[in-house]
């Protein structure tokens, strides 16, 4: 049997060496979940009122989702397959999907319905799970580690549970992707964990995982013309009691500006004097391990 197997594999390996005619060993069907968020880089604080100045702030793809998309694209390019981007949001979230296509995503799906509005992470994962069931079979789902507007990091793990998938959060590297298995490194506070997961699986990624590409001209052209299906609650068979505000278990009861105002003290005098005063104050309050007198 051995020589036969070698004979069987050899031509395929040879083919792999030819970049343009690479034959996929395993075509991977990948779903990347993205979210459209306001561009935090454009958000500034009003120095007087300490509130957000958001006039003219553009919407972008959540920065962490860009790493998720890039990783999906890289796997597709290596092994063949498809990358489908999925988002839930208002109709204008279609812009984010078109942008994802310009980077190289093959398909895009928009989940949009007034009944989805006001969803917490519980209702969001329910809706995304229904959308993914509509899309069909997949091998891998990628999410960014969190969205920069909500910062919860709950949708990826919650979605995995909804779909009964194994998952790993904070993935900083994919070590290996074999038949039915994936090996990843998960970033922890004091190092990393190496994990093996059975496919299909869901991964949430951190920015260390890759360096996202720039969109291609060809991609930009395709992004303009590609048809993007929009699914409402009825299209994905969503129970209206479980989506949006009605389906949310948590409820925001108050939103307020954080207390930023501190009693600030300017230190004056010569540099030596200023530093002396500062260290004395810090020492008096036992903030530094020194007795400055």
């Amino acid at each position: 049997m051995e020589p036969l197997r070698e004979g069987f594999f050899a031509p395929r390996l040879a083919l792999c060496a030819l970049p343009r005619r690479r034959k996929p060993i395993t075509a991977m069907h990948i779903i990347v979940c993205i979210k459209q968020v306001p561009d935090a880089r454009q958000v500034k604080l009003d120095p007087e009122t300490h509130t957000l100045i958001r006039t003219g702030v553009e919407s972008i793809i959540n920065p962490y989702d860009m790493y998720a998309l890039e990783e999906g694209l890289r796997i597709k390019e290596r092994l063949g397959g498809t990358v489908t981007v999925l988002t839930m949001g208002p109709p204008q979230a279609e812009t984010a999907l078109r942008e994802a296509i310009s980077y190289g995503a093959d398909e895009a799906v928009l989940l949009s319905d007034r009944a989805f509005a006001g969803a917490d992470t519980w209702a969001t994962t329910y809706t995304l799970a229904r959308g993914i069931e509509k899309i069909g079979p997949f091998d891998l789902i990628f999410c960014g580690k969190q969205a920069v507007d909500g910062d919860t990091a709950q949708v990826g793990p919650g979605l995995a549970e909804r779909l009964s998938l194994p998952y790993a959060a904070w993935v900083r590297k994919i070590e290996d992707l074999g038949e039915g298995l994936i090996r990843v490194q998960r970033l922890m506070d004091d190092g990393y964990d190496r994990l093996e997961l059975a496919l299909p699986a869901l991964l949430t990624v951190v920015k260390e995982i890759n360096e996202p590409r720039v969109p291609s001209l060809k991609g930009k052209m395709r992004a303009k013309s590609q048809k993007i299906p929009l699914y409402g609650a009825a299209d994905i068979g969503a129970d209206l009691k479980l989506t949006g505000l009605a389906g949310s278990y948590t409820q925001v009861i108050r939103v307020f500006a954080p207390l930023r105002a501190r009693e600030k003290e300017w230190l004056t005098g010569s540099v030596e004097n200023q530093v002396g005063q500062l260290l004395h104050k810090l020492a008096t309050r036992q903030l530094i391990p020194f007795d400055i007198s």
Partner: protein, 401 residues
Amino acid sequence: MGSEILIDLDRCSGCESCLEVCPFSALEMRDGKPVVNEQCTLCGACAEVCPEGAIILPETAPSAGPETGYRGVMVFAEQRLGRLSEVAFELLSKGRELAQLLDAPLTAALLGRNLAPLAAELISQGADRVYAVDHPRVEGFTDEVYGEALTQIIRAVRPEILLAGATPVGRSFIPKVATQVGTGLTADCTDLAIDPEKKVLLQTRPAFGGNIMATIICPLRRPQMATVRARVMKRGAAKPGRPGEVIPFEVDWDRVAGKTRLLEIVEELTEKVRLAEADIIVAGGRGLQEGKNFPLIRELADCLGGAVGASRGAVDSGWISYAHQVGQTGKTVAPKLYLAIGVSGAVQHLVGMQSSETIVAVNSDPHAPIFDVATYGIVGNLFEVVPEMIRQLKAAAGRRE
């Protein structure tokens, strides 16, 4: 259909207060009155600020009360490599306070091996009962086994509130538990309180990178679950000899599919002091001008026994590695003392450090936004100020020897 905010146009005075506070640009003026658009997430900021009370949020809570049969506060006591995490103690202290207000017990869930000494520590720090899963399968952390174990504990013990640290472990597997149990979860809380009337947990957390704060409740489902940021709650004093009970908990492992395997735990301790746990952080920014000046920050940090942080500008310039970055795309820190040296204070940096207890800012520009959050401000040339700090600190250390 009740999923839009209602604006009472007769009451509305057209003052535009709501437009200013809307974090999502969801309101626009048309003919002198606000109109809500598709960006609305029903966050309620507008209703809160409207001086005329003209904005009404859709009714969400049905008349039914919360699920019954749940009692007490449970803390997930995270341990890694046999050491309890600091946040577990902070949660016990806060959990004790909440349990007292509810006149209910405080329990802890503990997963790992050889748990007796850890359980004793939890009891001395306030736990009335510790549910301990001592099993090889929970020796290391995977979402799959931790999630299933904690879910089974919750289903058996039925606490009214469950708290966990907003650590890489807690933030990873607690969402799975909440989904399995079928309840709401609030991430990364910085304040917890009990509503004196309704007895529900008021969970306050920063959103939008810390630019707005939101108070969230879970009115109907139980337990009310929250992950809580480390170093925000204060750890209480240990009371050795405090009575408490350790209850071994048997997990039904047949329910675990075994689709995740932990292969290896790799520790990468590049820093003497870890940023997230440091009491003192000295952070450098673009004001240092060149990479060769960055060691000045490290020298000051060493003098103070602190950790080194950096703004995104300093990291992007290649002066120091990303592991040191503080801010929205880096680490969120809340040390006792934060020294910002040559950091201008972009909002993305401020959100990562503004909960620090005391903030010292050194900057040549008196209008730099970092001074907005500073406790002490020095306007000056950092290349004069920092060496002087180092000199005085070394002199003081010398005197003490």
